[in-house]
Symmetry: C2
Amino acid sequence: MVNYKVIAFDADDTLWVNEPYFREAEDQFAKLLSMYETENKIQQELYKVITGNIPLYGYGVKSCILSMVQCATELSNNQLPAEITQQILEIGKEMLTKPIELLPGIVEVLEYLSKNYTLIVLTKGDLLDQEKKLERSGLLTYFHHVEVMSEKNPEGYERILKHLDILPQDFLMIGNSLKSDVLPVLKIGANAIHVPFHSVWKFETVSKKALENHQYKTLTSIGEIVDFL
Amino acid sequence: MVNYKVIAFDADDTLWVNEPYFREAEDQFAKLLSMYETENKIQQELYKVITGNIPLYGYGVKSCILSMVQCATELSNNQLPAEITQQILEIGKEMLTKPIELLPGIVEVLEYLSKNYTLIVLTKGDLLDQEKKLERSGLLTYFHHVEVMSEKNPEGYERILKHLDILPQDFLMIGNSLKSDVLPVLKIGANAIHVPFHSVWKFETVSKKALENHQYKTLTSIGEIVDFL
């Protein structure tokens, strides 16, 4: 039994639904361009453009939309009608204003944990969008600190723990991504709990090999965290 | 004479050149669309689209480019050739990879002040872009903390001071924007120094009336800060 002082939550697909909206957006995109290519090929090309642009654009809706515009002009051999460009921009604006759909049980868990632990949010993505989602979620009241990270790597977690003056052994991270929420946290000597979400972005998946010799707990739903702690 | 504990610097146009690159980008944009409208009209429309999108997109290069794409399709009555869309995306990529041009005297000032004060950076804009600019600038070593804010308003400053455990009277902000770096800081009871930069984005200007009854120091160059303190 460990007595954690700070418990950090990932946001997208841990507190609320996110990934399915990106999948929907990609489907809409593929349909918009269906006169040029098969939907399968369009999705593959889009994935290449989005991940290729991550070093430059980072994560989040705005980056995704910029990559969609680029991918669309490329797939159309520079014949893309401006109307479709407009529709791609609309996909992005819709994503940025979507109501927040909390995951089941999340309010009860936060309500319970906030009495005994300092809770924080560590999310990656676009600064303004993540802040606005937290506001819309109504969950801000449970969190002592919110940090949007440009990348969830060990260095990023280390910097935050140092900044918040927390020792790794006092810190627990909870999230749906093995790549972003679990492995880098274990690497700095802290603990992590994996709560899988049914939809995972291909870019966030890790090989079985990468998980070997790592100890972390997997829960099937966020509600189990209360019993576990 | 006040003994500040923490001195915060704005980044864009305080530590390094920024605004002229946005002006250049707008000029390039206007030239790209010169078959549709006068450059003056194009600049005016772009300003409307960019500022209209701030609540949704926030600040920074990616937001600016998304607004440029929108504005271009609108100005062209949805006739925009895909090639021009591509060129707009290129303007953005160029902005995101531009070498950093430090303002004169900045290294000496940081070198000197870092011996006697805790220095931090408070900037607004895109998270990843600002972090990467700081890295490229070589100035990271001088700063104890870097925070990218989605909006520089009194609430934002208050949250940061609380989070860093600093009293307003121990805090000094230095920046080029009266609207973002000076007025909101005075409002929370802290001090601010204005170091104007020759190029100011129209959106950052404030009326004379808004400045009435406010006490802050204006320096003509960042180097004067050493004598002032």
